[in-house]
């Protein structure tokens, strides 16, 4: 039943210091990436404190970026392959020769 409530929730509603949900979804990455000025930052923070759908959106996007960071990084080799270690060693040796 709660889910139905979220779905029908008036998502264009204005909360807090006049920031609209639509504006939050537009600025969500700038917010997460710490690129907003203080005024916008505070407006979003205030907004998500009282608007559950936007709060959920921000959490989702934050988690998505965290997953891209952890699962998009690292290699299957858990470190670099031995063959690459050797190539790097060779590159460093060669670079010191004229």
């Amino acid at each position: 039943m709660l889910v139905e409530f979220y779905k029908t929730y008036d998502h264009e509603h204005q909360h807090g210091h006049g920031m609209l949900c639509q504006e939050v979804s537009k600025k969500v990455y700038a917010f997460i990436d710490g690129q907003l000025d203080v005024k916008d930052l505070e407006a979003i923070q205030e907004h998500i404190n009282i608007c559950l759908p936007c709060h959920m959106l921000v959490n989702f996007e934050r988690k998505l970026l965290a997953i891209i960071h952890t699962k998009g990084g690292g290699t299957e080799h858990n470190g670099i392959p031995q063959s690459l270690s050797e190539k790097i060693k060779k590159a460093i040796e060669l670079s010191s020769k004229q």
Partner: protein
């Protein structure tokens, strides 16, 4: 800075360089060769590296430039265009609209993605979007650092990152449907 000192600073970044090289080249052998060349160039031009500055950023700049010049991507891939429709896409909205129960929190679906799904989605990004997603989202460089590495304005990094993340989400949504991470 001596060669030995730089070696101690540079080697810990080999894995990150290799990982990014893998995403850029799609091929382990090419990735190894690319990283080898990065180390060769870095040590050759060690006098240009300012001690105390960000060695990782410097190495990544060499990596990106070497890759671009080798593959001549800038001519093959002119800027942006063709992805206007993707800006409106939201993985959150897709997942949210299918939530059937309250325990089905939209964010919980994200745990179902495997590392290989994320990597495949990154691999499928057009070059210029993949560069910024790798640098900012995977490697954790700031917008400013990524802009320096790519030699583009910060605003360009921001717009490419925004689109890159959207394209990535679209791929992830396709995988979610295909692999049954969400009910179809």
């Amino acid at each position: 800075m001596t060669s030995k000192e730089f070696e101690a600073e540079a080697l810990p970044h080999a894995e990150a360089l290799y990982n990014t090289a893998l995403r850029l080249t799609h091929n382990p052998t090419d990735a190894e060769d690319l990283v080898q060349e990065v180390f060769y160039k870095a040590f050759r031009s060690l006098d240009q590296f300012e001690s105390g500055t960000n060695a990782k950023a410097w190495l990544f700049k060499i990596l990106v430039n070497t890759h671009i010049s080798q593959y001549r991507r800038q001519t093959r891939n002119p800027t942006s265009g063709g992805y206007d429709d993707v800006e409106e896409f939201s993985l959150y909205n897709q997942v949210h609209s299918r939530a059937e129960t309250l325990t089905d929190s939209p964010a919980s679906i994200l745990d179902r993605f495997l590392a290989e799904d994320i990597k495949k989605a990154i691999d499928n990004l057009p070059d210029q979007f993949r560069d910024v997603v790798m640098l900012v989202d995977v490697e954790g460089f700031s917008y400013k650092e990524a802009a320096d590495i790519l030699e583009v304005p910060v605003g360009t990094v921001m717009s490419r990152l925004f689109r890159g993340r959207k394209i990535l989400q679209k791929s992830l949504w396709e995988y979610a449907l295909e692999y049954g991470y969400v009910k179809n």
